[in-house]
């Protein structure tokens, strides 16, 4: 059929489609969250009845106890320490460059890709009192994480020539086996 010259070309109103889309958008906004979950992971050892015996066996030489009291003051093995000095003390304890008898012992462990490596036997213990603030506890955990991240990074650079973050999964596991993070509560 021929279109007459008088027909007005009408467009379908797309405004109602926009309304439907708006409704879907609003529904979606209400039911969801832009939740970004930032956290650090800790693997706790399985509940063991001989844990106390094992701790005594390792000896106080290999235990680095960080205590937090009610005022959120830190002390290491009984001596008062400032938060700023804690990281350096942890690194000194684990790395023990001068083989001091007061700091952690090392044992030779066979690690994949690297062969026999001296690995520290040090264990970090974090103890808190009932009224210690949770943020102080997280702060100490944070300092421990940073200390180990620094040590692992330096080790990875020395041994593989790569920064820890840039290494692949297998290399990361080797570095983790050489600088193990043992935390007990």
């Amino acid at each position: 059929m021929l279109r007459s010259r008088r027909t007005i070309h009408h467009e379908i109103n797309a405004g109602s489609m926009a309304d439907i889309a708006f409704l879907m958008l609003v529904f979606f906004l209400l039911t969801s969250t832009l939740d970004r979950n930032f956290a650090f992971t800790r693997q706790t050892p399985p509940p063991d009845n001989n844990t106390n015996a094992k701790q005594q066996q390792t000896g106080s030489r290999n235990m680095f106890t960080i205590s937090i009291n009610d005022n959120n003051d830190l002390s290491v093995n009984g001596k008062r320490v400032e938060a700023g000095d804690l990281k350096a003390k942890i690194i000194e304890f684990i790395q023990n460059p001068n083989e001091s008898a007061a700091l952690s012992e090392k044992q030779i462990v066979n690690v994949k890709m690297l062969g026999d490596v001296p690995v520290s036997k040090g264990i970090i213990a974090i103890s808190t009192t009932d009224n210690t603030s949770y943020s102080a506890y997280i702060n100490v955990n944070d300092i421990v994480n940073k200390a180990f991240a620094e040590m692992r990074d330096a080790f990875a650079l020395r041994v593989f020539g790569l920064n820890y973050d840039k290494a692949d999964e297998l290399r990361k596991q080797s570095v983790d086996a050489c600088v193990p993070l043992n935390i007990t509560e």
Partner: protein, 152 residues
Amino acid sequence: MFRNRRTRIIPSISTAPLTDIIFILLFFFMVTSTIRMNTTHVKVKLPNAQSVEKKKDEETVCYIYIGEPMGNVTAGDGGMAVQVNDQVVPPADVLKLVTAERTKLPKYKQDKFIVSLKIHKDAKMKLVKQVKEQLKTAGALQIDYSGTHTLN
């Protein structure tokens, strides 16, 4: 046709591209957001930490919130209440609930059971230790401590 030199036809604005814009916005939000599983009954202000990393939500199964009670929730020890997934519970019931959550999973996933702890920065360690002891007994060995990422 209807035109001469003096009249001008102003074309009507087509609203079809508007729907495209709305759909793009919708898809953006669909991709970047997560469906909220738990309604919050406690207010949690997370502590600051530098060594926290972004965690993928699909791996976590159980959320434990410790914070200031909102609405008609009664405060427990130290002014904070404990919420497991989406119900507020007295602190001693955490063991029961977490074990129930863990046994719901198939066997091969039970070892990779992760609990995410979102605890208020002013909470006292007494309550936190109580919850953690129960998690240990329940066999939840991998724990994510949440915090807001800071640069210093």
